[in-house]
């Protein structure tokens, strides 16, 4: 169990993480979501002992994580900027990981290099943004660390590379279960990987729930515009789309079976709520749409 207690991270007078308490059972994939400046990277930095919390603690199985060698060995934190030296060659970066990481799998790293079409002789400084991110993905996956933290590791990757990354992440997670925390802005693209979702807003914990529960928290209603409007009246709308006479709205409301039956009788169809719609709704209260009248 990873426990964050009253975690606060300050930079001078700026509070990046404000009194966050979280219990993270191990062996799951977490999605850490938040708008720019919400404190995601600061929280992850404290979690990975890259930064001592201003207040509060991070504990792994009851032990204080900061500067604990056993905890550090089990933690791999890959930041979007990569903690490598630009003058190094890709193979040199991986070699250092091989010397220092107890769980490093060089064969798997080599396969990932092929998958992402990375040239081992190239210097980091010569890589594109997407290729640098791919190096981060290789470091994160081949380390096989029991706690793997990937902070916006997809940055600059094209759609093919991102798809390969998500597929590898899931396959390797299933083969070697561990705790993975993914921080991302591409919510819909990755949402299916998440087992639990954590949302930060202005440094505070807004939500920590099982993904399925979160999806069940609202509903998407699709059908003739008039029928949708009548059904959704009075309930908070998270998002809406219209095409011709057809309208789809996402509602922050869990209808009773009788309500669903009534809607279906009126020609409406129902689906789960999108995590992204919910995220936008929760973190942008000023932009929340007025309930349909």
């Amino acid at each position: 169990m990873i426990e964050l207690r009253d975690l606060t991270v300050r930079y001078g007078s700026t509070v990046a993480v404000d009194d966050v308490s979280l219990d993270l059972p191990t062996g799951k994939i977490y999605g850490l979501l938040g708008r720019n400046g919400s404190g995601k990277t600061s929280l992850l930095s404290a979690l990975a002992s890259y930064r001592r919390p201003t207040r509060g603690s991070v504990r792994f199985d009851g032990a204080d994580a900061f500067e604990d060698p056993a905890v550090m060995r089990q933690t791999c934190f890959v930041r979007d900027t990569l903690d490598v030296n630009d003058a190094e060659r890709v193979r040199g970066v991986l070699a250092v990981a091989g010397w220092l990481r107890p769980g490093w799998d060089q064969d798997y790293a080599d396969r990932l290099l092929d998958l992402f079409e990375l040239e081992p002789r190239k210097r980091i400084s010569a890589l594109s943004r997407g290729q640098r991110s791919a190096v981060g993905a290789v470091l994160g996956l081949a380390s096989r660390a029991p706690l793997t933290i990937l902070d916006e590791t997809y940055l600059g990757m094209d759609a093919v590379a991102r798809s390969n990354f998500y597929r590898e992440l899931l396959a390797d997670y299933l083969a070697h279960p561990r705790t993975i925390i993914l921080s991302t802005h591409l919510i819909e693209e990755v949402a299916d990987l998440f087992e639990r979702v954590i949302i930060l807003d202005h440094g505070r914990l807004l939500l920590h729930e099982e993904t399925d529960e979160l999806r069940g928290r609202g509903i998407t209603v699709t059908g003739p515009a008039d029928a949708v409007e009548a059904f959704a009246g009075g309930h908070p709308v998270l998002g809406e789309q219209s095409l011709g006479g057809v309208r789809a709205v996402t509602l922050d409301w869990r209808p009773e079976p009788a309500d669903v039956a009534r809607g279906e009788a009126a020609g409406l169809t129902f689906g789960p709520v999108g995590i992204q719609d919910l995220f936008i709704h929760l973190t942008s209260p000023s932009k929340r749409l007025e309930a349909i009248r």
Partner: protein, 227 residues
């Protein structure tokens, strides 16, 4: 792999070409001087290698903080493990560089003697003098390494103006070692302080700076960029 083992493997590609360049430069310059004058009255090796050992280790001290710290943390090591590994690496590297300076000086003297190129002022090194010269150079190389590390740690941890203040303290070990233990190209120690006192003062300054370095880096936040 041990921390200091990893550091040696990281620095190996830099050390070997550096040593080759140094040796080539010494042979070339000494050859030109001896070829022109028929002899040389000072140790070119002490000038070149003596300076190179100090300044290279100063740069290594800087690079350890700016380049290696975050790499080791990113690969699952603590700051204190890094400090311990860097300490062992620094001690071995400093002792090796000091030994190379002293042995090179002895070898240079023997070669010049053999070819009849040794001038009157050349600092001839006896077997007993080897240890004495090592005792002068080794504390200096350590002091420069620690100075480099503390100076860069100040800039790494704090804003530039605080870094400037720390830089003044960081320069103390190098300054003290240079002024009290430094030897010139004639093998002379300009400072007129008994060796034991000079050594004690130099080591004290170095130890204080090392302690300050440990305090600065012991819980430092790992920066995103190279600092």
């Amino acid at each position: 792999m041990s921390m200091h083992g990893a550091l040696f493997r990281i620095y190996r590609p830099i050390i070997i070409p550096f040593a080759a360049i140094l040796l080539t430069a010494d042979l070339l310059v000494t050859g030109v001087v001896v070829g022109g004058n028929g002899e040389i009255g000072f140790s070119m090796w002490l000038v070149l290698a003596g300076s190179a050992a100090k300044y290279w280790l100063l740069v290594v001290g800087i690079m350890l903080v700016v380049m290696q710290l975050r790499v080791f943390l990113a690969n699952g090591r603590t700051r204190h493990e890094f400090l311990a590994g860097a300490g062992v690496f620094g001690l071995i590297a400093s002792a090796t560089f000091a030994a190379v300076v002293v042995l090179g000086h002895a070898l240079e003297g023997a070669v010049l003697d053999a070819i009849g190129g040794r001038g009157d002022g050349y600092p001839v090194l006896s077997v007993g003098g080897l240890l004495g010269e090592f005792g002068q150079v080794f504390p200096e190389t350590i002091a420069y390494l620690i100075s480099g590390a503390l100076i860069s740690a100040g800039f790494y941890r704090w804003r530039p103006w605080i870094g400037l203040v720390v830089m003044i303290g960081g320069a103390v070990p190098a300054g003290v070692a240079d002024s009290l233990l430094g030897i010139d190209e004639f093998g002379v120690v300009p400072a007129h302080l008994p060796y034991a006192a000079a050594l004690a003062l130099s080591l004290a300054a170095t130890a204080l700076a090392a302690l300050a370095f440990q305090r600065v880096i012991g819980d430092v936040a790992i920066r995103r960029t190279a600092g």
